[in-house]
């Protein structure tokens, strides 16, 4: 069978037997796939130190249903500066786990690939900023078609821009206006505007949430993401435990 080349990010790695590894990848050309790297722990010639979480690789793969065969890998970027900060490592792992959880195998999504690699490159280049995580999440939801409605009330369909005392809908999937909701977490219209801006600019680092806004955006996005997860994220629990 023919070996093809893929541009891919490693979403996760599992040891398999004594020397093999099973790697979950998100490839530009192929979407999510799982591959078996035979002898990966011993053969530095074929894989080097490349099969590491969130590394971007040029892979030689023989595609198969279920488990593909990885024939070799060249590193495009291991993001060395991410690896020097615990907070950056956790956030990169979180981004990879989100993609791993929210994407079905074999569905190509070029925009999602660009978003993930742009986030990793940004994390690698600049000091960590909590706004970037929320920017990534907002755009991730958008690219997957899970974007929460931010312009109109989830109940009466009224335009939120003209309304006061907005609240997060209890279902987590939208915002309610003051006349539709008396309970629920309050969110400011400034936060909604910043989220809308996050979705209209394509570049990391342009949108900065103030501290209150960060907490509100967090509540909106965490709830929207939770609707689509089938299990709690390990990297999120990790971040909370090591507080980064």
């Amino acid at each position: 069978m023919q070996s093809i080349e893929l541009d891919a990010v490693v979403l996760g790695v599992m040891d398999y037997g004594e020397a093999d590894k099973i790697v979950t990848l998100f490839a530009l050309e192929q979407g999510k796939l799982k591959g078996l790297a035979r002898n990966a722990k011993k053969s530095r010639k074929r894989f080097g130190g490349a099969l590491e979480p969130f590394a971007r690789l040029r892979l030689q793969v023989t595609l198969k249903d279920g488990l593909s065969t990885l024939n070799g890998a060249d590193v495009i970027n291991v993001f060395p500066h991410i690896r020097t900060e615990l907070g950056k490592i956790s956030h990169a792992a979180y981004a990879c786990e989100l993609v791993e959880q929210l994407v079905a195998e074999g569905e190509t999504n070029t925009r999602l690939f660009r978003l993930l690699t742009a986030y990793l490159e940004h994390l690698d280049r600049v000091p960590q900023d909590a706004s970037d995580r929320r920017f990534f999440e907002a755009n991730l939801l958008k690219v997957l078609g899970y974007q929460p409605e931010l312009a109109r009330c989830a109940c009466c369909d009224g335009e939120l821009a003209a309304m006061q005392q907005l609240r997060l809908a209890p279902s987590g999937t939208g915002i309610l206006c003051g006349s539709c909701a008396r309970t629920g977490r309050p969110v400011s219209s400034d936060t909604i505007s910043l989220l809308i801006r996050s979705l209209s600019t394509g570049r990391f680092g342009l949108v900065r949430f103030p501290p209150e806004g960060l907490a509100e955006a967090g509540a909106i996005l965490d709830a929207a993401i939770a609707c689509h997860l089938t299990r709690p994220l390990k990297s999120l629990a990790f971040m909370e435990q090591v507080s980064c």
Partner: protein, 197 residues
């Protein structure tokens, strides 16, 4: 399909649980052992002996028969602790003859993706050893994987405030390798960690 006796089937089953042993290897090992009953008894006895006698050292959590282990009880530099992920990493350090301090085995590494958190490792036990006050340096010898780096960074955060020197194994070009074939990240770290001649 060939049918084996119940005891042979059980032996094959146990052998196949070992890393790297599949059907064929299990069969080959089993027949080899059956051909020499003396070897078979010796293997059985040594397995039972290991089970009865080997445990984790209560100080460094390495594998030992005597507690504390010989590395914790013999004459060595007690002001330096080298932290490793697994007991077999101690062997690699000892082979190098470059280190003469004490050890601490974490039994794993932090992993955000696999959900391995500080409470899953022997980190609290390490901190207890450090709080006793005689340690001046901790050498972090966790692996140079994302998990090993995360563990080293986390430990640095915990240990630095105790005014203990924290060092990390140098990360450089493998001995005997041509620079042109070394990956970019390794070269980068080697340049960052360059030394005066």
């Amino acid at each position: 399909m060939i049918h084996f006796s119940r005891s042979l089937t059980r032996l094959l089953g146990e052998l196949k649980k070992l890393p790297g042993v599949g059907d064929k290897t299990a069969l080959r090992l089993a027949f080899h052992l059956l051909k020499s009953p003396d070897n078979l008894s010796a293997l059985a006895e040594s397995l039972l002996e290991v089970k009865a006698g080997v445990r984790f050292c209560s100080i460094c959590f390495s594998i030992t028969e005597a507690d504390p282990c010989h590395l914790c009880s013999t004459e060595r530099d007690s002001t330096t602790i080298c932290v490793v992920e697994e007991p077999q990493d101690i062997l690699a350090m000892e082979r190098s003859r470059a280190f003469n301090g004490r050890y601490h085995v974490l039994h794993g590494a932090l992993s955000p993706l696999n959900g391995i958190t500080p409470s899953d490792l022997k980190i609290a036990e390490l901190m207890q050893r450090l709080e006793k006050g005689s340690i001046r340096e901790v050498l972090l010898a966790t692996n140079f994987t994302v998990e090993g780096e995360a563990t080293a960074l986390y430990l640095t955060r915990l240990i630095k405030p105790l005014s203990i020197r924290v060092t990390r194994l140098a990360h450089g070009i493998p001995l005997g390798s041509d620079l042109e074939f070394v990956d970019a990240a390794t070269v980068q770290r080697a340049v960052e960690g360059r030394s005066e001649l």
